[in-house]
Each structure stands twice: as C-alpha cells, then as structure tokens.
C-alpha cells in the first residue's frame, strides 16, 4: 500500500513534524511519497527530496496554496491522495485544519492524533484528554490519518534522493483568503521540538515573573511553556500553552513550576521522559505524575535553580 505524507513546511524549508510523520508512515510499510503544496516552495520540495526514506516528492507550487488555506489544499490532497492507501499529516494546527476536509471529500472517516500503528488497519489514539487510549480499526479503503509527532522518533532529514515531480493542479475555490498573521517571536527552541521544557502556571502570579523561568530556560537551552491558567490570566501568549487544547509535548525533561496539574494540562505533557514539579502546595495533583517533586516557593527555588545548573 502506498503512502502519501502531506508535508508541513514554510515554503522554504520542511518543518520537523514532517520527519516524525514519515517515521509513523514507515511503520505501515510501503512506498512513501511526500506532497509539498505551497507557493514559491521549491526550497521545501528540495528539502523533502533529501529526507531519508522518501520515494517521490510531488510539488504543487501555486499562489492558491501559499498559506495552506484548507479550502484549496484539501481539494488538492483529496485529488492526489485518491491513488494512495494512506494519507498522513502531522497533527499540527495545519494538519488538523486540512485533513478532515480532505477526508470528507474522499468519503472517509479520518483518524486523528495516532500514537501507535498496530497493523495496517489498527491504530492507537488517546481520547478523553489522554485519560483513555483507544485501539481503533478503520474499514475505509483510504486511511486519512493525523499523527501525534511526539509519539514517533523523527527520520533523518538527510540521506535521501527522491525524485521531484511537479503537479500542475491549481484549485482555487475563491471562498477564502489570507489576511495576515502575528507570529510570536522567540529565540528559544520550539516548544514541541525542545529537549527540555520549563512551564509556568498560575503560581507565577504575573507575566513579569516569567523572566525567572526564561533565565533558567536559557541556561538549560529549554523552551518555555505555560498552563492554560497562565495564558487565560494574560501572563503569556496562548501559543505557549501546553495541554489538551494547546500543544502536546514529550521532551526528555519537563519542569512544571506553579502548575497544579489539571487533567487538561497533564494531557499535554505526561509522556515526557522525566517530570519535575515545583509547587508550594504539597497536595497539588502534579506531584502524582512527577518523577521529582520539590515542595517550595518558586520565587526562592527558581533563582537557586538558575544558579546551580
């Protein structure tokens, strides 16, 4: 069964999430083609061609796909994908936006956020905010799947030499247009790709106090996250949110500071290798999942931590 992986990219380069998705595709067995849909995206196409294990790269370079608007991109994916047994994309906001739309065009019930491939028809995925793992079997002829990237180790970005095929498909539905975007700027590693993540919650008390976390993060080369409580209180922007409705992370080390550990937050970080909790409330639920817990005032513990790492 041949597999189509929809690349996540910024037109110039391929994003890391694509490498994890290809790793999931390899567990299915079969030739893996990559679809790069974008505008002025030859750079991304060349990068896709050098990923290890890719058979063919199909490039649709057209202004209509510039910002991966769902209306246009889903049409393309459904058209290209109908020749494949599987269509996979990372479960990022882009993948989640476009894949169900492509699935419905193919009359398929998509499977979201898989964490394991059991066989060619059977997959595991978390439900109920990660409190339950469901094993599901698809009876659809084409499987449309999004992949939880933190559940699969990425394949190598280099070492492949796939053939690049240009598609001349240009679907412009004309019903949507890109107006603009506001991206949060950060020199720190990206949250979902970082080896170490340090997150603050309501206990941080205000946005200025996040400076204490940034200092520790910069010493450790860590990304900084936040709980929903911290985001809702306006301490930090919402793209820093870790949890069921934010980002799912699984770093080697996750440090939760002033975070009580609501189910919603745990769903986003409990697959981290080592979890550290710093909280002054020794009854906080976060201590039930933490490998190392420190009952302490974070305003004393953070500066001390910064000094000693």
């Amino acid at each position: 069964m041949s597999i189509l992986v929809v690349a996540e990219h910024d037109n110039g380069s391929i994003k890391g999430a694509t490498l994890n998705t290809i790793a999931a595709a390899q567990k299915l067995g079969g030739d893996i083609d990559v679809l790069v849909a974008g505008s002025d995206c030859q750079g991304a196409a060349q990068a896709a061609a050098s990923i290890a294990g890719v058979a063919k790269v199909k490039v649709a370079d057209n202004a209509a796909y510039g910002h991966q608007l769902a209306e246009n991109t889903a049409k393309l994916i459904a058209e290209v994908g109908k020749e494949y047994g599987y269509i996979l994309a990372p479960a990022t906001t882009t993948g989640k936006n476009v894949m169900p739309r492509a699935g419905a065009l193919l009359d398929v019930q998509p499977i979201s956020d898989i964490i394991a491939v059991e066989s060619e028809n059977v997959f595991k995925r978390p439900i109920y905010a990660g409190n339950v793992i469901a094993t599901v079997e698809s009876s659809d002829a084409i499987k449309v799947i999004t992949v939880r990237t933190t559940a699969f180790d990425p394949v190598a970005a280099e070492g492949g030499s796939a053939e690049v095929v240009t598609l001349d498909a240009a679907h412009d539905e004309g019903k949507s247009s890109f107006v603009g975007e506001e991206l949060a700027e950060s020199d720190r590693p990206e949250l979902t790709a970082a080896d170490i993540v340090i997150s603050g919650g309501r206990g941080m008390q205000n946005g200025d106090n996040f400076e204490l976390l940034y200092k520790v993060a910069d010493k450790l080369g860590a990304a900084v996250g936040a709980s929903r409580a911290a985001v809702d209180a306006g301490f930090v922007p919402n793209d820093m949110q870790v949890g069921q409705t934010g980002k799912i992370v699984a770093p080697n080390l996750y440090v939760a500071v002033g975070i009580s550990g609501a189910i919603q937050h745990l769903a986003g970080m409990k697959d981290s290798k080592t979890i550290v909790a710093i909280n002054k409330d020794e009854e906080a639920p976060i201590f039930q999942v933490a490998d190392y817990g420190l009952v302490a005032d974070l305003f004393e513990a953070l500066p001390e931590l910064e000094q000693s790492v």
């Binding site: 936006n97 419905a104 998509p110 107006v179 290798k273 999942v289 190392y292 000693s308």
Partner: protein, 249 residues
Amino acid sequence: MKILVAVKRVVDYNVKVRPKADGSDVDIDNAKKAINPFCEIAVEEAVRLKEKGIASEIVVVSMGTKQSQEQIRTAMALGADRGILVETDVELQPLAVSKCLQKLVEKENPELVILGKQSIDGDNNQTGQMLGALTGMPQGTFASEVAIADGKVAVTREIDGGLQTVSLSLPAIVTTDLRLNEPRYATLPNIMKAKKKPLETISPDDLGVAVEPRVKTLKVEPPATREAGVKVGSVAELVEKLKNEAKVI
C-alpha cells in the same frame, strides 16, 4: 442572518474518565453530562452576534440519544431560538454527524454555522472541517475572534506559533477555540422560558443519512502509568538527581 450552532452532550470536563474493567468501553453511564465546553463557546458567540443585531435567528442542533434534549434546552436558555434533535442510539462519528449537518444546512440555509473545535470525549477535531467539505463552505477553524462585515467573515485563528487571520465569503463555518469568549450562565427565568421554545425531533433516516460507524473501537485501556516519583528536599538535591540519576541535564 440565520446561525446554526451544533452542540454535543459529553461527560462533564471535571469527571476523570476510566475504561471499564473488560476494556470494551469507557465507564461513563453514571457520570455527569454537560454541553461540550467548546460548543458552549459556539452558542455564546451566536448569542453575542444576535445581541449586536447581526444574527436574526439561532438554531441549535444536537445529535445522539434522547437525553441530548437537555443540552439543546441549555443552549436555548442561553439564547438560542429553537432546537433540532437528530435522535439515534447509534454511535455517531464525525463523518456521520457532518453528513446530517449537511442536510440540515440545505434545509435551513444558515449564513453561518458555528461549532466547537473539538469535543472533549472523542478529541477528534474533525466535524466542522468535514462539514466544510460536504457543503463547499469555507472554514475558519480554531477561532479566537470573529468579525462579520460586507458579506464576509474575518476569522482570527489560533495556529502553532501565533495567530492567523483569514477572510471567508458567507455562508461559512467557524469552529471555536477557548479564547473566543467567556460563555454566560443560564438564569432561572431563561431556563423556564427555554422549556417553551420549539424543539423538533427527527432521525438520521428522515435526513436520508446512513450513520453506521466506519471506525470500530476494538478496546480501550488506561494510559501507561508513571512510576511513583520522589520528593526532594532542596534545589541542590533536585539538580544532583537530574544530573546523575535521570541524566537529563
């Protein structure tokens, strides 16, 4: 304009759900149920658009067992004008739900359909997008801001890395993210009034939609449990353990 809002009856978000001992299903028969939190935000947004004079009528629809009536009544207490229940005992998956919604969209001709971005039971995040494909309507998913003007809707979307704004021609579909608004509470007088609002019950057969599941759940199980951790007495001890025991820094 007419707005169609879809709401789902789910286990209350405060309930910690566990699988049944035999792994056949989740144990939710006696758990408290409520409107899915993202659907509540969808209802609230529709009501606000009505209060601004942009929306003229709000139709709320839910699908599932007879008990989903309760969630439709709640939405009507929050400000929806009338309700439609698509009643079935079959487990509905997003493809089936979006096909039923497609038929209702054809019948009701709303200019805006608002749904939650995902339900907190299945965590699929699919129905709004699939409805978009079936109706051909454009979609503004994960909305944190919605502005309607000149036959278009500008939707600010929460994406990885920040915010993106798209402009969609009407009719359009919006799925709500958490920060779109803060839903109001239903007041007692409004709960009483909601009991008198019209609620129509139909079946998937009436809509001519086959709702059989395409994806079968073979089993459910609890996630792998983490081994109990240790409490450390000081920052120095913590750093020592992270360096020498866990070897993560």
